[in-house]
């Protein structure tokens, strides 16, 4: 494998779904990031080999959003573009494909990232209603038409919420929140422990915003009904968060006995992120100054009902693959889908019995000063298609600021998987 460079990584601000980004079509959460990086790198619009975009709820209007983004970004029409789907790790999947293509020498410049507008997840007609429409269309004469019409029942109209369906595992039947409840129950995490974790996420995010730590990674985006507002900051982290306030929220997924609330889980979110991934030849040719090198990635599966522990298996895999250890990492990102799920990961990482249960090495006790230092999905949000690459964007920028060397970004993946990626900061 040849070296793979992360030349530049940017992201949009992230906003809770249904708020300021609710009307932004998903391609526009990503195209402008490419445009920004093309402009600042000085490459031409026909120098890009491919655009790879992760997107979970690919809008019906843009069947292959990767290609749409390539064109909306003003890249040459000859630029190939496609879309990848690995649930919550779709953005990381896009990066991993760029890694293989550039590393193997097939490609020189790839834009890889993810976009998600969860505000625009559709409502779907029920199977009965779809069937009703089909019958109606097939009916050619009045008699058949009447017969078809008489098949209609009012309850057929009640829609299926695509988002809810998408967040429910088809094998274990649990939705993602219920998988977090399972971990909380089995590992004995209390409601307060989870709320404390969530509160800390908000505190770190607000500190980062106030210190301007996201300024370099965010490209301001045009928003508002008239498209005359410029948004340059995340819309989600709460400066007034407290454990007491979080304690007032009712459990969302298991109403009576549960501990997981909307406060200690990540909110559904709109946002996009993008990386310019280049070969050594491209770096030399265009005189680029890469931020980081992508060392490797790893994906790993586990039981769907405990999908939240995926990051441990993925990190175990990547450490074995690269020979690096947790202790070598200057910064660690574990995506905060749920407080309980991150806490579960930390427990499995350090406890021998649990590690053995999932067949991994004891990775070690997490140095909390290295974990999710600028907050995580609980405060910043989790636009599912984007988060996989967003974590790497935030990680790389923070490594650069700290002049630190290695960082690992990891996340759990609905359906029972984990993904992890190690990068090396080159701006030391």
């Amino acid at each position: 494998m040849q070296p793979v460079y992360l030349v530049n990584g940017k992201r949009s601000p992230q906003a809770k779904s249904g708020t300021i980004f609710k009307d932004i079509p998903a391609p526009y959460l990503g195209d402008y990031l490419i445009r920004d990086m093309v402009e600042s790198s000085g490459i031409a619009s026909d120098d890009v080999d491919e655009v790879i975009i992760g997107c979970v709820g690919n809008p019906a209007k843009y069947p292959n959003i990767g290609r749409v983004i390539a064109l909306e970004a003003g890249l040459d029409q000859r630029t190939s573009g496609y879309t990848v789907h690995r649930n919550c790790a779709s953005g990381m999947e896009a990066l991993s494909q760029a890694f293989l293509k550039v590393g193997s020498g097939r490609s020189d410049i790839i834009f890889a990232g993810g976009v998600e507008n969860m505000s625009q997840a559709p409502l779907i007609y029920s199977d009965e209603m779809t069937d009703f429409f089909m019958q109606l269309m097939k009916a050619k004469n009045p008699k058949n038409k009447l017969k078809a019409v008489s098949g209609f029942r009012l309850p057929h109209l009640s829609p299926i919420i695509a988002l809810e369906q998408g967040l429910t595992d088809p094998f274990c039947g649990l939705n993602m929140g219920q998988t977090a409840e399972k971990i909380a129950r089995e590992f004995g995490f209390t409601r307060t422990q989870q709320d404390e974790y969530a509160n800390e996420s908000h505190r770190k995010a607000i500190t980062a915003i106030n210190e301007g730590r996201f300024r370099e990674e965010i490209v301001p985006i045009i928003a508002g009904e008239k498209l005359d507002k410029v948004i340059s900051s995340d819309f989600g982290p709460r400066g007034d968060s407290s454990v007491e306030k979080l304690a007032k929220l009712k459990p969302y997924f298991e109403k009576r006995t549960g501990t997981v609330t909307v406060g200690n889980a990540c909110p559904i979110t709109d946002g996009g992120s993008m990386w310019m991934v280049c070969s050594e030849a491209a770096v030399k040719k265009y005189n680029l100054e890469p931020m980081a090198r992508m060392i490797d990635y790893h994906f790993h599966g586990l039981e769907p009902e405990r999908m939240g522990l995926g990051p441990v298996l993925a990190m175990d895999g990547i450490f074995k693959r690269t020979g690096l250890k947790l202790a070598d990492m200057d910064l660690v990102e574990i995506n905060e889908a749920f407080a309980a799920q991150v806490m579960g990961c930390l427990k499995v990482m350090r406890e021998k019995d649990l590690a053995a249960r999932w067949g991994v090495d004891v990775l070690g006790a997490m140095d909390m000063s290295k974990l999710n230092v600028n907050g995580g999905a609980i405060s910043l949000g989790h636009p599912v298609g984007s988060t996989g690459s967003r974590l790497v964007v935030t990680l790389a920028h923070e490594l650069e600021k700290r002049k630190a060397k290695y960082g690992v970004a990891s996340l759990c993946i609905g359906g029972g998987q984990g993904g992890a990626m190690i990068i090396e900061n080159l701006k030391v």
């Binding site: 402009e39 008239k226 005359d228």
Partner: protein, 703 residues
């Protein structure tokens, strides 16, 4: 038989006439020769007993026929000659209509004026679905009416109401709209037209829908017709204020000829054309047409590289307007300001312009989203090295602008054109701040950018011709009208506008009322009164410009005291709701402002309307003569183009200097001399250039 102006072929009984043969220009026009040759060809077809049909098409992609050659219309020296010309054309087109076999025009691209009249004389019209396909009868814009049977055949085909809309406004229709109105029968991909044309020529079509025939019946009813004509006349008068005779003549002719036989209908059309072609308004409009046509020419245009990416410095109204222009032209501009407030002001301006296009259905919502989002709002210079053209629209201060330019030069590529949208500062001085002044020039836009067609390209001593040519091409590319001017206070347009506004204020000081002045100016044909215009521009801006003019031009530009006094009372114009007039929250005028009245002398004088007009217009002519003398622009034509498109000087007068020429320069010089004694010797200091023209018995357009 073969012809020079079109190909002529008989393919198994179907005759094919293909226009644009041997044509080097992208737009084919109908010449006298075309008509003569058509006449011969049609005779042959009607003599051929085995003929089955006729197809008319064009060899030039994007243009069927762009109409009659305007220079032919311009050369007509009398009404009789013009009417006779019409009759010739009419008889040729009648021949098509009278063919015993079906005929069809295959329209791919522009089909205007005589071109559409030709198509209308065919049994059917087939249009291509190309975006370039556009049908219309724009004759009214030249002060005449369609003279080859268009006024007869259009109402027959699409009904009276739709016809009036096209005939009175000269508006053009795309293929789909044309089909909806019944102007064309079929819409096809252009590649299939010849093949399908031969088939559809003989196709029998379904009868008209019930609704269509009902509408037709309704307008045949003479009562309804009366209402339609009355309403149309009213609208025309509102829009043209009676300055333009052509639309009224069209209405008279249509009303009088309605239901008459073809021959008398066409006679009336020819005679109306003859009359209109000799009106001063029509001559003036033809003159403006050629001015515009001339402005679109640029030597070696195709070899000049187009601007791919734009950049704008400074949000705000002008910056936002310019960003809109670039975004609309696909140049994905960077928009930089020093704070988000400025960026959002700029985005708001651009959004307003796009939204108004969406409202008028000129732009889809998706394209609005795409184009508006192609603007990149930024607070730093990241990505500026990708820009090909930068336009600065920051605050109007020499110090700030110089600072900005010396800074920005570090961030842009070596080939990036740098321009300033200054309206009042010296471009020569600004150029001194640059390391590479040869790629710098002034680029003066008018507010609001999306509506005002003119852009002044301002030269300075160190600018290269390459830069000027590139900018000229860019202005044409973004569908604006460019004029090239040399650096001087106010450049061309504002320098000539300034004495007009200044003199109006002096008239107010002398005791002429606001209403009298504005009425006189409106009756002259200007789009708004002088006091109204000062409100629009902003009285504070007028004061500022006045100072610059006085500083630069001396005593003849001595600024009035009234505007200053108005500003001191916080009367700034429409922007703060109070100027010479008062405005409500939506910016609508609610009448004369008593506070402004209070600043004027209580003793009013009544002045003759013509006198007011002369007092305001003659200083403009005098200043224009000085501008020509100083070689600020190259010709009288440029002055006229600038004033028509920059301030809306009445097109039916053909421009300021054409108006001066036609009113007699000796008379104007005499008036100036009179005013220099009676009014003010400095403000009416006669231009030596103008005096020389009179001495040598020359005109502005002959010098």
């Amino acid at each position: 038989m073969s012809f020079e102006k079109f190909s002529f072929e008989n393919k198994e009984g179907i005759y094919h006439i293909g226009f644009g043969l041997n044509e080097t220009k992208s737009m084919t026009v109908i010449s006298k020769q075309t008509l003569e040759e058509l006449d011969q060809a049609l005779s042959q077809i009607s003599d051929d007993k085995n003929a089955k049909g006729l197809l008319l098409f064009s060899h030039i992609p994007g243009c069927f026929l762009a109409g009659m050659d305007v220079s032919v219309i311009q050369s007509l020296s009398s009404a009789i000659e013009a009417s006779e010309g019409c009759e010739k054309g009419q008889s040729v087109f009648n021949k098509i209509e009278d063919l015993k076999v079906p005929s069809m025009a295959l329209v791919d691209g522009i089909c205007l004026g005589g071109g559409l009249e030709l198509a209308l004389s065919c049994t059917k019209i087939m249009c291509s679905d190309s975006k370039k396909t556009s049908l219309g009868l724009p004759e009214v814009m030249l002060g005449v009416l369609p003279g080859f049977g268009g006024t007869y055949r259009l109402p027959k085909k699409i009904g009276l109401t739709s016809s009036l809309d096209l005939l009175l406004t000269g508006k053009q229709l795309k293929a789909i709209k044309a089909k909806r109105l019944g102007l064309c029968e079929y819409v096809m991909p252009s590649e299939r037209m010849l093949e399908k044309g031969a088939e559809y020529l003989f196709k029998k079509d379904a009868d008209k829908s019930l609704q269509d025939s009902f509408t037709e019946k309704a307008s045949e009813n003479f009562l309804a017709r009366g209402v339609i004509f009355r309403k149309a006349r009213q609208t025309v008068l509102e829009k043209t204020k009676g300055f333009y005779p052509a639309p009224l003549k069209i209405l008279d002719h249509l009303e009088a000829s309605f239901g008459k036989r073809r021959s008398s209908y066409l006679d009336s059309e020819a005679s109306a054309f003859g009359d209109l072609s000799q009106t001063s308004q029509s001559k003036a409009l033809q003159h403006v047409f050629f001015l515009q046509d001339e402005a679109k020419k640029l030597d070696g245009k195709d070899s000049i590289k187009s601007v791919g990416k734009g950049a704008v410095l400074g949000g705000g109204t002008m910056g936002g307007g310019i960003a809109w222009l670039m975004a609309n032209a696909g140049q994905a501009p960077l928009l930089k300001d020093i704070n988000t407030v400025g960026l959002e002001l700029g985005l708001k301006q651009s959004s307003l312009a796009f939204k108004s296009a969406v409202k008028r259905k000129r732009l889809s919502h998706d394209d609005f989203e795409r184009k508006q989002r192609s603007i990149k709002p930024t607070l730093n210079y990241d990505g500026f090295k990708s820009a090909d053209l930068l336009i600065e629209a920051v605050v109007e201060s020499m110090k700030v602008k110089k600072m900005v330019f010396s800074e920005v030069e570090k961030y842009v590529s070596d080939d990036c054109l740098l321009t300033s949208n200054t309206s009042s500062l010296s471009v020569n001085e600004m150029a001194q701040a640059l390391k590479k002044p040869e790629r710098f020039a002034g680029l003066h836009f008018f507010n609001p950018v999306n509506k005002m067609p003119l852009v002044e390209i301002v030269r300075h001593d160190g600018v290269s011709d390459e830069t000027i040519n590139k900018l000229y091409k860019w202005v044409l590319d973004v569908k604006k009208t460019p004029i090239v001017v040399n650096d001087c206070p106010g450049f061309l347009v504002n320098r000539i506008l300034a004495p007009f506004l200044n003199e109006s204020a002096y008239l107010l000081e002398a005791g002429v009322s606001i209403e009298d002045i504005d009425k006189a100016i409106l009756n002259f044909g200007m789009p708004m009164g002088a006091c109204r215009l000062m409100d629009e521009v902003g009285i504070d801006v007028c004061v500022h410009v006045g100072e610059i003019m006085e500083a630069g031009l001396g005593a003849r530009a001595k600024a009035n005291k009234l505007s200053e006094a108005a500003v001191a009372k916080d009367l700034l114009g429409r922007k703060n709701g109070k100027g010479f007039y008062l405005y409500d929250e939506r910016g609508k005028s609610t009448g004369v402002n008593p506070d402004a009245e209070a600043l004027l002398p209580s003793k009013k004088i009544s002045m003759d309307e013509t006198e007011i007009q002369m007092r305001c217009v003659i200083p403009m002519i005098n200043e224009a003569a000085m501008i020509l003398n100083e070689k600020i622009v190259d010709s009288a034509a440029t002055v006229d183009l600038g004033l028509i498109f920059g301030i809306g000087f009445p097109p039916f007068r053909g421009g300021l200097l054409r108006y001066a020429d036609s009113s007699g320069l000796d008379h104007i010089v005499d008036t100036i001399k009179k005013y220099s004694v009676e009014v003010d010797k400095d403000r009416y200091m006669l231009s030596s250039y103008l005096e020389d023209l009179v001495t040598n018995k020359k005109k502005f357009y002959e010098s």
